[in-house]
Amino acid sequence: MADPLHQFQVTPLPGLDFGEVTLPVVGTVHLAFTNSHLAMTIGFLIVVLFLTLVTNGAKVVPGRLQAVGETLFGMIDGLTESIIGHDGKKYFPFVFTIFTFILGMNLLGMFLSFTATSQLAVTATFGVITFGLVVIVGIVKNGANFLKLFWPTGAPLLMRPIVGLIEFFSFLLRPLTLTLRLFGNMMGGHIALKVFAGFVATAVIGAAGWFGVLIFPLALGITIGLTALEFLVAFLQAFVFAVLTCIYLNDVVNLDHAH
């Protein structure tokens, strides 16, 4: 039986392994179209196709599919509006893109044997893009005032450098926690699923003897429950990523009137 970590292996798809290629700037890389690429591409296509389908025959009174799309859209719209405020509309496309893409890949992971968001490289890219955008927006919008983010005016004067230092390091930790939250949740959930599914398989093939009669219903029930929980987590993590992106953007967009 395959171990629970087997599902996270990135392997080139048959016939799409291009071997070692020497590129001008990067150097020698192993070029291949892997199952991770495939999962991300399908996730991207599903998001684009879904939103195209939703907006294609848009009616004043929405049908079922259009209602789903409008709910998703309205949810993120309300999120940016309520957290970032008046300027929220400007950042809505970024937040919505990240939300739908992560949601698409998370949900796809429940149907395919591979979850793109359980790869540290994928979630780290999301974390770094978000962090980079926050820093760029902060510097472009505020200039040198950006450093005021690390100068807590609410604290006593003596404590300000110390609190500011802590603020600075917690700011630098943001991409790390964004990355690890998504990665850890998806990987942990799928490991737990696979472990309990493994118990079911062990009981069914009779490896546990007569004891399997007891293990089988228990493990199968837990697997079903965990599957339902994973669907919740898949949505929740995408939502949390969007909310945190909004909160981090709000820190730098409304720097003057927030502190």
Binding site: L180, G184, N185, Q237, V240
Partner: protein, 74 residues
């Protein structure tokens, strides 16, 4: 002690970080529920905050989990 055994025990001990995350998430949901029962009309608007708080508390447990996995597979 056999290094392999020490590594596996270490990975298990690293999971102790999950205890704190469990306490934190339980605190958040418990306090939300007690607050929501006192003022149910305001509860609906705080669902977003609830899940963000739970996710922030949970992330620290996830750090312990990732550390355990790293020790295990290294």
């Amino acid at each position: 002690m056999d290094p392999q055994a020490a590594k596996l025990i270490g990975a298990g001990i690293a999971m102790c970080g999950m205890i704190g995350a469990g306490i934190g998430v339980g605190n958040i949901f418990g306090n939300f529920l007690s607050g929501a029962l006192r003022n149910p009309s305001a509860a609906g608007s705080q669902i977003g905050n609830l899940f963000v708080g739970a996710a922030l508390a949970e992330a620290l447990g996830i750090l312990a989990f990732v550390m355990g996995i790293l020790i295990w597979i290294s």
